[in-house]
Amino acid sequence: MEGRMLVAAGSLTIVSIFLIFGALLIHPFGVPNAYKMDQYIIDHTQNESGANNGVTAVVFDYRGFDTLGEATVLFTAVAGVILVFRRVKKE
Amino acid sequence: MDIGTVSITILTVIFGAIGVTLFGIIIGLLYKGIDRKIAAHMQGRVGPPIRQPFLDVIKLFVKENIVPDNAIPWVFHLAPIIGLIASITILLYLPIGGFPAVLDGIITSKGDLILLLYLLIIPSLALVTGGFSSGSPYAIVGAQREMATMIAYEFPLAIIIVTIAWRLSLMQNVSHVFTLSTITSIPLWNILGPLGFIGMILLLLTLIIVTPAELSKIPFDAPEAETEIAGGLLVEYSGRNLAMFYLTDAVKTVAMGSIIIALFFPYNLSPILSMNGYPAYIIDFLFYLLKLFLVILFSVTLIRVGVARLKIDQIVYTYWVPLTLLALIGLICIMWDQTIMTQFGIPSVVEILGLT
């Protein structure tokens, strides 16, 4: 048990160091690289999808399939919870 | 592939199969008789006549086939058939003398050796299944022992096969290194340096020790020994089923011998004598029979007579530790051989001996 904890702690430390370096090496806060995809969406959301809200345009139009997936996740979770709490016949 | 070629191939396979089956059964039983005779002589007995195994089989075939009450009938009947068919299939993949293997390049175009490795398991497996299904406690103990041995000896065998194939793959212009035809056409002895030669001898030694276990002979016959567990896994078998197991054993003996020959002594007389056509086949075949006899003599009879029966834990230990080590040392020798040969410019053993 002790050994396993030690291994876990070691790997956690390594992951932590990696993540912190990742945080330091990514672009400075608030100054992202020029994102063409996002700029396109901002420029075209009103004409293409007719929505003022860029986020909703992305959620339901440009990446609508993700949202279908998201809705499915929720559906899955609800089905799962109902399944877990169902009445199991006693044997 | 047009219909004609296909039908000719199929016919060849069928006739070849029948021929090989007959050959395997006859030679196997014959060797069984010879083996008994020699062993008896070595122990100072007279021993049964050489035709005794044939008589045994015929007698068994006419006897009544009893299914014990406790057994599972369909498995009980199925096991011997599968065992026999599998052991004959092994033979079909092996070159016999100058004849190429019957199934050579038909079902698998490459990798016969690994196929053989697995096919060798199946008769044992059938034996085990039969033992388990017979429902007798003795049979079950025997089957468990057979299982333990089976796993134990497959490891050295795998090492041998992979080593040989790996060494072959280092050569230029060689493909399909796992096929027996490649191995028989390029005997490793011809290309190895001194270290590799030692390794090869170690591997041969390993294989010779593996053989009796594969065939469940003394000293590795704990699963079936009558003195140990009252006949072991075959205790409930009688009549036709027992005869089939008997035949399986005989065929497997031939197959094992052929494997050793194919891996280590693939030489034929006909190129030396520069013969062609049918005489070459006959000469090769006779030479093959001789090789077979010698191999079985060494690996089965002599060991059988010379060594006492081991206990089951001793068997497993023998295979897992000394034999595996032996095989691994052989492997390492062969692996380093190439490096040493190129680095120090050592010629191969054949060149040293001036045989080329």
């Binding site: 608030g30 986020v55 909703t56 | -």
Partner: protein, 83 residues
């Protein structure tokens, strides 16, 4: 300049609350701390110009997460066992 200060204070507060949520032995306190974290997270989303996400986090964090956690604690045990 001060808006940068906000960007520094709120993340630190978020980390602090999450640390509290982890360290406290009382699971109820953890749940409360988690609710506070969610709240501050929503505020941070809000300051990062993502009102959509802020509303979603609000709707989820203000009510749903805590509700489910409290129900779970109600059905199980409240205190973390001593090691």
């Amino acid at each position: 300049m001060i808006i940068e200060l906000l960007h520094i204070i709120i993340p630190i507060l978020i980390v602090a609350t999450s640390l509290v949520a982890v360290l406290l032995r009382d699971l109820m306190a953890s749940a409360i701390s988690l609710a506070a974290m969610s709240l501050l997270l929503s505020l941070e989303f809000y300051i990062l110009q993502a009102p959509d996400v802020a509303i979603a986090e609000a709707g989820v964090g203000a009510c749903l997460t805590t509700a489910i956690l409290v129900l779970a604690i109600k059905a199980t045990a409240r205190m973390e066992e001593e090691s």
